[in-house]
Amino acid sequence: MESLRSLLRPVMSVPLARHLVVALVAFVVAMAVIGTSSQYLQTRYAEMAYFAIAAGGLTLLTGLSGQLSLGHGALMAVGAYAATLVLERTGGETLADVFVALLVAIAVCAVVGVVVGVPAARLHGPYIAGATLTLAVAVPRLANQWDVLGGEQGLQVPVPRASELPAWIQDLIWFFTAVEIDQYSFLAYLGWLLLVLTFVALANLSRSRVGRRWRAVRDDDVSAELAGIHLGRARVVAFTVSAMCAGLAGGLMAMNVRLTAPGAFTITLSLTLLAAVVLGGLGSLTGALIGAGVLAFLPHFATDLGESAGLSATQAAEVTPVVYGLVLMLVILLAPAGIVGSLRSFLARSSLTSSLGQTKEKTT
């Protein structure tokens, strides 16, 4: 144990190395958990993964650079449609198709992120919220303008069958979990792999010079500018990075839902993402992860609970948003810093869990 400790010490003191170690361990745990879960739970984990990726991006934007976006649902829509169109063209049968589709989704969202981020950088506070809100309202409606986007009924998303995956992946999964990979577990593994990679990238970014600039811009834009930071550039970069996360999340969502339709990307989606970020604890990636978990599990839990309490299906469906709202209100009342923020005040010394900066000391 002592030798392990001394072995770990140099690794754990370098942020990148520390993030990688944590990420690797997290991924192995995730794989084991996914591999031993039922197909139903696997779909929930996959859902949690893409929500967490989007929420992670939003955490970075809101928590670090201080821009509030109500339009991330729209960015997820852009990513979902981009990925779907690629998968449709390529047939979506191989792993390569999947990665090409996700890369295109990220790239398209990067472009959209710059286009939206540039005017947004001139705005602040409620004005950015307003501008991005219009995005959330308008973008999904575009699907009705062009036939290629499938209108209200949306587009079906082809996903590779497990048997079409490369043999080495099938073997690897078998080796770790003793369960054959299928479509559900494949999407869950893929989601968590990308989630871990995204979070490592985001955690490093926030620890880097770029992240420090963002924090400076957030906390006091005048002193940041005096210190030679280009405010606009810092904000646009933050918006773009965050948009890329939303694009990746959208692409994954398309594959999981197997349908891309405007109805999935209502303003409610943007608000729920924000809720996840607030719920978990603004500014912390762990918080985003926990918020996403609540998002993926709570509605089903509430419906099941309602039904087992003897409510009719209609009543159970109606009770779900109520439970969701109550949980959100309780967290905000009892733990204003979010779940992670409040835990952190107990474990003030923790550094391993706070991959992404400290919670805001100064609220703006």
């Binding site: 400790r5 770990l8 010490r9 754990m12 520390r18 361990v25 997290a26 192995v28 745990v29 084991a32 958990v33 591999g35 031993t36 039922s38 197909q39 139903y40 779909t43 409606r141 009705n144 209108g151 209200e152 009924q153 949306g154 079906q156 770790f176 979990t177 003793a178 369960v179 559900y184 839902v257 197997r258 349908l259 339709a261 109805g263 999935a264 089903h300 009719s312 299906a313 209609t314 159970a316 469906a317 109606e318 474990l347 010394r349 923790s350 550094s351 391993l352 869990t353």
Partner: protein, 442 residues
């Protein structure tokens, strides 16, 4: 700091080891292969369905599953089908295709249903047809008249329609208008998806020259139809044919009154329930149009019919539905409605298929049974089913009716046809079917 890091690593190591150990014994339970299918035991059959229980499409449609459940309870209390009781899981999709996909996933993986029975809606059900067929799950009697449930059994071998498809309905409406109102300037009011598209295709076979304007709407989008009604008005439309859901019947009526557009109206069956539309008009105008007056507003409107409804209380089928509803409705206060009758009529067909299938029930056998024997199923439908190996289309015809005092009066006999250029013929052979005295399909 280092202390915490070490502890975290230790915890993670323990967790990993534990999970990996658990994984070794995993060998997930697979569906048994001994002749019975997932969702079927010696004493139960579990089926699922997605319905809009909340949201804009919920009025009316959310009542359909209660009709199903009442009839299944009636059957279960009479001993079930081949000794098996039917259990139905209903999940809310709020008429949003993305939700449909999610709840269908849950029903397949969590509830482990044997079959999807009567999932509702064209855009919504379209989202899951591929999925159900890929997984080999019977997808029976979809609550929608879109062609895609039955016109290509090779592509969707597990999926069956139930009600007359919108093309057949459009054809009958088109022919009726052409013969009886040859000078009418026709405006089409369409839901902007396969529902409107299929209806338009049927109607255009006869009315291409008479149609002067087409207006579409997106469900869940705008609720103000003044621009559409103004357009009808300016183009001189004097007959509107609507392929729309009930909420949009009410909204189009409100908008037409608002812009002073007067016309004759012909709503396809889906959007024409007088009681529901009357109630919707009352709630949407906050009582400015009271429900009774709303029902009266529907007077003189034309529509189509393919099963007897609440306006025919002396019909033998309606008597049966009333009896079932009176004994099995959850709350005695809720009335029998056309939507509950629709649900019970579908449930009747499903029970009939299970009966015909016999004791050995698998996902493949139920499909085979419906293909072989479905065309001869007797039920409340006014026209026969078209089920065969080459077609999974449902009821083959409708009759045109006019609404008077909230009830329908027939304008034509039952007119039967098929998709494409199949001729329209009179055929009321199925209209005379009477329910067996037990009320259970034999």
């Amino acid at each position: 700091m280092r202390n915490t890091a070490r502890r975290a690593v230790q915890v993670v190591c323990v967790l990993t080891t534990a999970s990996l150990l658990a994984a070794c014994g995993a060998g997930k339970e697979r569906p048994s292969e001994d002749g019975t299918a997932v969702g079927v035991t010696d004493t139960t059959i579990k089926v699922g369905a997605h319905f809009p229980l909340t949201g804009p499409a919920a009025p009316g449609y959310s009542e359909i599953p209660s009709g199903h459940q009442a009839f299944y309870e009636y059957v279960n209390d009479a001993g079930g089908v081949h000794g098996r009781e039917i259990e139905m899981v209903v999940k809310d999709d709020a008429y949003n295709p993305t939700n449909t996909s999610a709840v269908t996933n849950d029903m397949i993986l969590q509830d482990e249903i044997f079959a999807m029975v009567s999932g509702l809606g064209t855009p919504t059900h379209r989202a899951v047809v591929q999925r159900l067929n890929d997984d080999g799950i019977p997808d029976l009697f979809v609550s929608s008249g879109s062609l895609q449930w039955g016109d290509d059994p090779a592509a969707s071998p597990m999926t069956f329609g139930w009600q007359p498809d919108y093309e057949v309905e459009g054809k009958v409406i088109g022919q009726y208008v052409k013969e009886n109102m040859p000078d009418a300037k026709v405006g089409l009011f369409l839901q902007d998806d396969d529902f409107g598209e299929d209806g338009e295709k049927g109607a255009r076979q006869f009315l291409d020259a008479q149609i002067v304007d087409v207006q579409k709407y997106t469900p869940g989008g705008s609720t103000d139809f003044s621009p559409q009604m103004s357009s009808f008005k300016s183009k001189g439309v004097d007959l509107v044919i609507g392929f729309n859901t009930p909420s949009y019947t009410a909204l189009s009526q409100i908008a037409a009154q608002g812009v002073g557009f007067k016309s004759k109206w012909f709503y396809s069956n889906v959007g024409s329930d007088p009681a529901l539309v009357g109630g919707l008009l009352a709630s949407m105008t906050k009582g400015k149009i009271p429900a009774e007056q709303g029902v009266k507003l529907m007077d003189g409107m034309m529509t189509t019919e393919y099963i007897p409804g609440v306006d025919a209380p002396d019909d033998e089928w309606v008597k049966l539905w009333q009896k079932v509803w009176d004994s099995y409705s959850k709350k005695g206060t809720e009335k029998l409605t056309n939507y509950r009758i629709y649900g019970m009529s579908q449930a009747y067909t499903f029970v009939q298929a299970l009966q015909a299938n016999g004791k050995d029930l698998t996902r493949e056998s139920i499909v085979e049974t419906i293909e072989k024997e479905g065309a001869s199923f007797e039920g409340p439908g006014l026209a026969p089913f078209r089920f065969s190996e080459d077609s999974h289309m449902g009821i083959s015809g409708v009759s045109v009716v006019e609404i008077k005092n909230g009830a329908s009066e027939p304008l034509t006999p039952v007119l039967v046809t098929d998709i494409g250029d199949a001729p329209i013929e009179e055929d009321d052979s199925a209209a005379s079917d009477a329910p067996p005295s037990s009320g259970l399909p034999e």
